[in-house]
């Protein structure tokens, strides 16, 4: 039931924005998925340059990922948010179709005018627009008020200044730790090299001692061994 309704709406919008059709016709048959985390929508570009919901068995040529937080930023007109959109698959198709979609507008006044006539439709449109603007203003004010309460009265949120200070402290700490790590590394290298020197020195000393010892014959050493073995017996 949703697919026919969404398709009808898309057809209506593309009909209102007839300039878009030649741009979209170049991508006829291409399927673009819009992933909003909580919901996913797949659109297909039709042969006449209009849009429809994609078939159930179709695989998208490109997927555009827009998490809810980003969607809100895009809706508020944040230009930087556009650079954070992630695209999988055919980037060219996704970019071009998204560009066209962003420029398409739903002319509600035109639709209402069929029911009420032009003048009433214009008035309704004007009132609706001012209502939306007022609602947007109220929402922004409410959000500011809540954030102020959470920052000042009941500190749940951190202030921007405090966050920046904290970030600076973290940066300083990170640099200090890095410096310390490098010093430690240098020190351990130094210790390592001095230990090696000591080992080499010790080894050479042992060699020296061994070379200065008088050499005994095999027979002498055997004799000494026998003498040692006999000693306990003699004592008894």
């Amino acid at each position: 039931m949703i697919a026919p309704l969404v398709t009808r709406f898309l057809q209506h919008i593309t009909q209102q924005n007839s300039w878009a059709k030649p741009h979209l016709t170049a991508f006829a048959g291409q399927i673009i998925a819009f992933d909003f985390s909580l919901m996913r929508m797949q659109l297909v570009v039709l042969e006449d340059g209009s849009l429809a919901t994609a078939p159930d068995n179709a695989m998208p040529n490109a997927t555009v990922f827009i998490p809810p937080s980003l969607a809100m930023r895009l809706a508020s007109g944040d230009e930087h948010a556009k650079t954070l959109i992630k695209v999988d698959g055919d980037v060219h198709v996704a970019t071009e179709v998204s560009k066209v979609l962003q420029q398409m507008r739903w002319d509600i006044e035109e639709d209402i005018s069929h029911l009420t006539g032009d003048i009433a439709a214009y008035k309704i449109g004007e009132v609706t627009q001012s209502m939306f603007a007022q609602a947007k203003k109220q929402t922004t004010q409410f959000a500011e008020m809540v954030s102020e309460y959470w920052q000042e009265e009941k500190p749940v949120l951190a202030k921007k200044m405090h966050v920046e200070q904290f970030n600076q402290s973290v940066d300083t700490l990170r640099h200090d730790v890095e410096r310390f790590e490098k010093k430690l590394e240098k020190l351990s290298q130094q210790i390592g090299s001095s230990a090696e020197d000591t080992d080499t020195h010790l080894a050479s000393s042992v060699k020296k001692v061994q070379s200065t010892k008088p050499k005994s014959t095999k027979a002498e050493s055997t004799k000494a061994g026998t003498a040692k073995a006999k000693t306990p017996k003699e004592s008894t």
Partner: protein, 249 residues
């Protein structure tokens, strides 16, 4: 080929010789022709209009295109397509059944639309190769004796870049099957008896829906008929499916 023609086929749940099916389907539609639209509205609670509008919306048909409406019957879709293609385009309404076609032709005339109506068999379309931008068959393929032959014919008359739309009952979403069976085999014949005074025809309708290939099978049949790419939409939980086959070469 001749041996193939002598085979049996299904007419609802009954098995009949192939040459008899056409006549039997003809009887059904002769019987319901005058009440066809009313019955469609009652049976589907008006949903058939939404399905048909959706077929039009996803067709990609534009002004100046040539469209063939097969098994168009009372002409619902021909009327919608005629408005879409405009005066520079052309829609041809066809049906094998004279009674149904008569209803459709009259409706086109009443609406002031210049839509030629032609009685013909979908398995032997009287059109040259590559004649149409779009061919549509809505709730008609199910009644055709040789669906494979009909699909090949539809593919033949399409231009390269053209597409076939098949709107047809299909396999419903499994959890709804029991409820759908109850509706189809108990309520539908009852409604047929009360409104169209013909319970048997609507019993046939329910049976023929069950005998019709499901979404994936029909997709494969269309690919076998020569379509290069086939997509489908499930509508109303699969009660109806819209298949779209593309002829790209």
């Amino acid at each position: 080929m001749d041996n193939h023609r002598e085979d049996t086929t299904h007419f609802g749940y009954k098995t009949v010789p192939e040459h008899e099916k056409q006549a039997k389907v003809g009887e059904v539609f002769h019987s319901v022709a005058q009440k066809y639209d009313v019955m469609n509205d009652v049976m589907s609670a008006g949903m058939h209009r939404v399905w048909k509008q959706f077929a039009l919306d996803t067709s990609g048909v534009k002004t100046g295109d040539k469209v063939l409406d097969i098994a168009g019957g009372s002409g619902d879709l021909s009327k919608l397509f005629a408005k879409k293609v405009g005066p520079t385009g052309e829609v041809i309404l066809t049906d094998i059944n004279a009674s149904m076609l008569g209803v459709g032709r009259d409706r086109m005339l009443d609406a002031g639309l210049n839509v030629p109506a032609m009685q013909c068999n979908a398995e032997q379309l009287p059109f040259a190769d590559q004649s149409f931008d779009c061919v549509i068959v809505a709730f008609g393929l199910r009644n055709m004796t040789h669906k494979d032959v009909a699909l090949k014919e539809m593919q033949r008359v399409l231009k390269v870049g053209g597409r076939l739309l098949v709107l047809e009952f299909s396999k419903v979403w499994q959890p709804l099957e029991k409820l759908y069976d109850l509706y189809s085999f108990k309520l539908l014949p009852m409604m047929g008896k009360w409104i169209a005074k013909d319970a048997d025809s609507y019993q046939y309708l329910a049976e023929s829906i069950r005998m019709h290939p499901d979404q994936e099978t029909l997709k494969q049949m269309m690919l076998d008929a020569g379509f290069n790419h086939v997509d489908y939409y499930n509508l109303s939980a699969g009660v109806v499916a819209l298949h779209k086959g593309y002829k790209t070469a």
